[in-house]
Symmetry: C2
């Protein structure tokens, strides 16, 4: 029926949880609000004869039913429509009798693609005439939607409960954050979520035609999120591979997935991905539009793109990257750049502008685009078509001119109550990263910033997950809400599954480091638990608590493969004879036994007397 | 004769330059000052019929003769003694008749280790009685040594010459740095080097018994350096492997190598490494001392350590990590930490202090240590024995108490004109990294800071080169002079060659990103050259200019293996049909043809009128 049958992907996916992990759910105010999280079980601490239990650690989880042993996923059926009732109850949408886009209709009637088609295509849904179904619209009317409550619970992750549990007391201690202007409350309430969305500081990308979605939020005052890209291209990769990459990407922690397909069967690939994706899916609609005109940018038209937007909105795409800020007047500013225009979408629009010598039609038709967005609740991801492609071109006139236009468009979108995030660079040396964040906050009125890296140097192709992870951690700390991952293959080739995994884990590191720096409540708990496990030689817990348990175990076993080494009180660094961790146990015992009595006091007195004196005698 | 014969390492090493690279030398004021660098050749740019040559790019190089086609290296012979004449001419040293350390003498006479022994052991050299042979001592007397001139030329890397060459004009443009207090001149002169060393802000680790050394400098106002570790341990790895790792490490860019061996034949391994190393070698002498007492820290004594320092100084070790700041009074401060004392050297000293309830003998005998250091010009790397082993423990009382003591010891060392750098953490969340640098500059009087990472989160074992690379780039920017690498195996196992390569390249990225951020003169040239090559689809140049050309090529070929794809004007992202880079060529041509005439002016006028107005009409 479809090309899944020809690949290694099975229709029926057997859920595979991460090690020592169980998928659990938190309930909201109504039974159908069931917020997923992952609970990592720990073993007990053994010091001599003494045994102490270690509590389970809850972690944010975006892997969907694919890691829930109580679920069975049939890719050909798609995921359950969690949000269908919520959308229906709002009573502001209508069920259409079929796709309203010309392309969607033609594609559905095309016998040539029948074998690729997802078999359970739902009727698309659209706002009733005159209605606005965006989360921002509800928020501004004071309505807390189930989606808002869902993300509030998801962001909080049982924190109030853990705070009241003495087993977590030490684990919840953390350094004060330096939020740099972020305003993170101790408790994330649904009302706080509503306020942030109403203000435009956060978005919940949640198309009414993607009811399978587990809602998540993107905003400066929430956990920093990451995006993973996939997509077949003219050169390589198939439909089944892309669905497999999506499942793989969310397993390692992608909060959203962008489908950047440019090859054949974009429409069908997207349908399969959407029906099986618990995370928001973003696209760059102009990529598909370009395919429709045989790759000739000059043949693009507003009418064609409009049809594509509707086609994709009715499939359920949650956010659109649109390069509406690439204005004709900015194009010559790129002529003296080292690497010109490197954004694919940006250069498509530039080429169109150039060929017709007219203003960008996404800019001139922006109001009409907003009308489409609010009829399905598609969020804008306003593309940075003029982002720098080399550190040389960072923060230049072209880039910042476009950014100011994105701010202007943000205000326009907000007049329509349409959700917006702003895309950012790219390649930026470290000393100029902060300026990007500051300019965005100022000119785009604190709309969520969504950056690619930035890469802090251009000299390490093959390691650009790292050059960009360095920049991503910093800009995440400075206030970026979502970080678009970069894989080791960036600039060189298309990522395979291993590249996707490495790219995502690298970006989980960057996002988490940013959460720690901003002082996100409870962020340090997992660090503390893992470090305690490390210190107590609980090797299994150390693996299980890590972002990539399989990799951690594999690296450990490369040196000490024996099963006994995973319970041994030593590691490969010092070997069994001497262990620095062991010394601390001795110090604790000596301190407890009063051996240092009076010494701490003496030390303080010594310092108070300004005593940086060099002593040759013993202090004892 | 030695265990090289039993391994895959050949005595005779065939030099293997990196692709498209040639080892060249710059001459100093005397013919025997020959400063190595690597020159990367570029292909020509072809745009239509037009051809333009691209100039060669010189890069800093620490790989030694192993990448020079005109050299032949016989590991059993060792490298040429470049500095022998300089040392000899100073006329302040004496040649000893043999090792003066008891252990060195015993080891040389031991038939059991004869088969492992390096066969061309030189007589050791020592300062004449009453003399001080440290670079700091010369600097303070106003003497510019050949070593100082060497590093001045090495840091400058032909910059004055390139500035006068029109081919480099565009390539030398770069963003203004944000040096955060660093004071980097436009031209690095030997006199500037002398001043920095005299002030203690920089060191040239250069033991008089390591004449094979190509001198390099570590200081805040110079290029940021990186260190790679190697070492056999009680658990794994052999002598030959360690020499091989050293050659491998410097190939990828390690500026210094620390030999952290803890297993058998430490003395012999070190001799082989030193005789074949063009970069400074550092050690932690207490590791070997501990082996000498069978791993029982409480049996250590000042006399034993003293003999070990002399043993290693007479072999040629360039810097010693000594945990002299782990004072008895600070030990109980670690009792309430999450991970206690994680520094191996720190915990050895703590255990000794604890067992004897006496002050750290490295602290009480610090003056005597200085006497040894200045007799051979061994530099201090004052160890941070109380560095945090978890983000939880970052910046605590124990850590900063030790840091203040390191400052006190720095002043003491400087009274002896002994060179000093200060070791730093460790595990630190991003928002608390800057404080580490600021405290170090303040309390250690701007002595060079040498940090391990820091790791910005604890939750990613298997990816700790990345968690630490993020911290390293930041602290490098803030003023750290040398970054100690971390490999993917950190916390899990011992690194193999592939781990060493990944760790080093990651740290080259961090160090280079820091150089860019500080505004190091000419730092951006390689980025610019690589980005220009990328933009012009000069794939071979893109690979060759990268930090790891082999990896870049391998990743490219994974998607497009055909030889033709390396000259093709497209990549695997967009395929041959559409290319964003191509568009920019069109824009340049349109701009040159006057198509945008008047538009830039209009755009400026528009902005000057405060025109952030939303226009629906075309601007053309």
């Amino acid at each position: 029926m479809n090309d899944f049958s020809k690949t290694s992907i099975e229709h029926l996916i057997r859920p595979t949880p991460l090690p020592a992990s169980e998928k659990k759910y938190l309930s909201g105010s109504r039974p159908d609000i069931r917020v997923p999280y992952r609970e990592i079980t720990q073993t007990e601490t053994r010091i001599g004869e003494r045994k102490e239990a270690n509590p389970p650690i809850p972690v944010y989880d975006c892997s969907g039913p694919y890691t829930d042993l109580n679920m069975a996923v049939d890719l050909a059926e798609g995921l359950p429509a969690l949000r269908a009732k919520w959308i229906d109850e709002r009573n502001d949408t209508e069920l259409l009798s079929g796709p309203t886009s010309e392309f969607g209709q033609a594609r559905q009637a095309d016998p040539a693609t029948a074998h690729l088609r997802f078999s359970h295509i739902r009727e698309p849904r659209r706002a009733q005439s005159g209605k606005n179904v965006s989360q921002m619209h509800y928020a501004r009317q004071g309505i807390i939607t189930p989606e808002m409550e869902f993300v509030a619970i998801r962001e909080s992750l049982k924190l109030a409960e853990l705070r009241a549990d003495p087993r977590y007391e030490g684990l919840l201690r953390q350094h004060a954050g330096q939020p740099l202007g972020a305003n993170i409350p101790d408790d994330i309430t649904a009302e706080f979520v509503r306020q942030e969305i109403a203000a435009g500081r956060a978005i919940i990308p949640a198309n009414i035609n993607h009811p399978e979605l587990e809602p998540m939020i993107i905003g400066r005052n929430f956990r920093v999120k990451i995006n993973g890209n996939l997509g077949n291209s003219a050169v390589t990769s198939s439909l089944a591979e892309e669905v497999d990459k999506m499942v793989w990407g969310i397993r390692w922690g992608a909060d959203t997935i962008m489908d950047l397909s440019t090859g054949k069967h974009i429409h069908e690939t997207r349908e399969w991905i959407l029906r099986n994706s618990p995370v928001p899916i973003g696209t760059v609609p102009i990529y598909q539009a370009l395919e429709k005109v045989g790759g000739k940018a000059e043949e693009l038209s507003w009418e064609l793109v409009r049809d594509t937007l509707i086609e994709q909105a009715e499939q359920g795409v949650d956010y659109f990257t649109l390069h509406a800020g690439v204005r004709l007047a900015y194009i010559p500013m790129t002529a003296r750049r080292l690497t010109g225009i490197v954004s694919r979408g940006g250069s498509i629009m530039a080429k169109w502008c150039l060929a017709h010598h007219k203003e960008n039609f996404l800019y001139t038709h922006f109001d009409e685009i907003c009308e489409i967005m609010k009829a399905y609740d598609v969020s804008f991801s306003l593309g940075d078509g003029l982002r720098p492609g080399a550190v040389y071109d960072a923060n230049d006139e072209a880039q910042f001119s476009e950014l100011r236009t994105l701010g202007e468009l943000t205000q326009k979108a907000w007049e329509h109550d349409v959700q917006v995030m702003i895309e950012g660079p790219g390649h930026v040396p470290m000393q100029r990263i902060r300026e990007n964040m500051d300019e965005e906050l100022k000119h785009c009125f604190e709309a969520p910033f969504y950056t690619l890296g930035p890469l802090v140097t251009d000299i390490a192709p093959g390691y650009d997950h790292i050059t960009s992870g360095i920049g991503a951690a910093q800009i995440g700390w400075y206030g970026t809400s979502m970080l678009c991952y970069v894989t080791p293959k960036e600039h060189l080739g298309l990522p395979d599954k291993e590249d996707v995994r490495v790219g995502i884990v690298t970006y989980k590191v960057a996002a988490h480091a940013a959460d720690l720096a901003k002082g996100w409540p409870g962020a340090q708990m997992r660090d503390n638990a893992l470090s305690k496990a490390r210190f107590e030689f609980r090797w299994e817990d150390q693996f299980n608590l890590s972002l990539d348990p399989e990799r951690a175990r594999e690296y450990h076993d490369a040196t000490l493969p024996q099963e006994g080494a995973k319970t041994a009180h030593f590691c490969s660094m010092c070997g069994p004879k001497f262990c620095s961790m062991k010394i601390t146990q001795d110090i604790r015992e000596a301190t407890a036994a009063g051996q240092f009595e009076g010494m701490q006091q003496k030390s303080i007195e010594f310092r108070q007397k300004g005593g940086e004196v060099y002593l040759t005698g013993d202090a004892s």
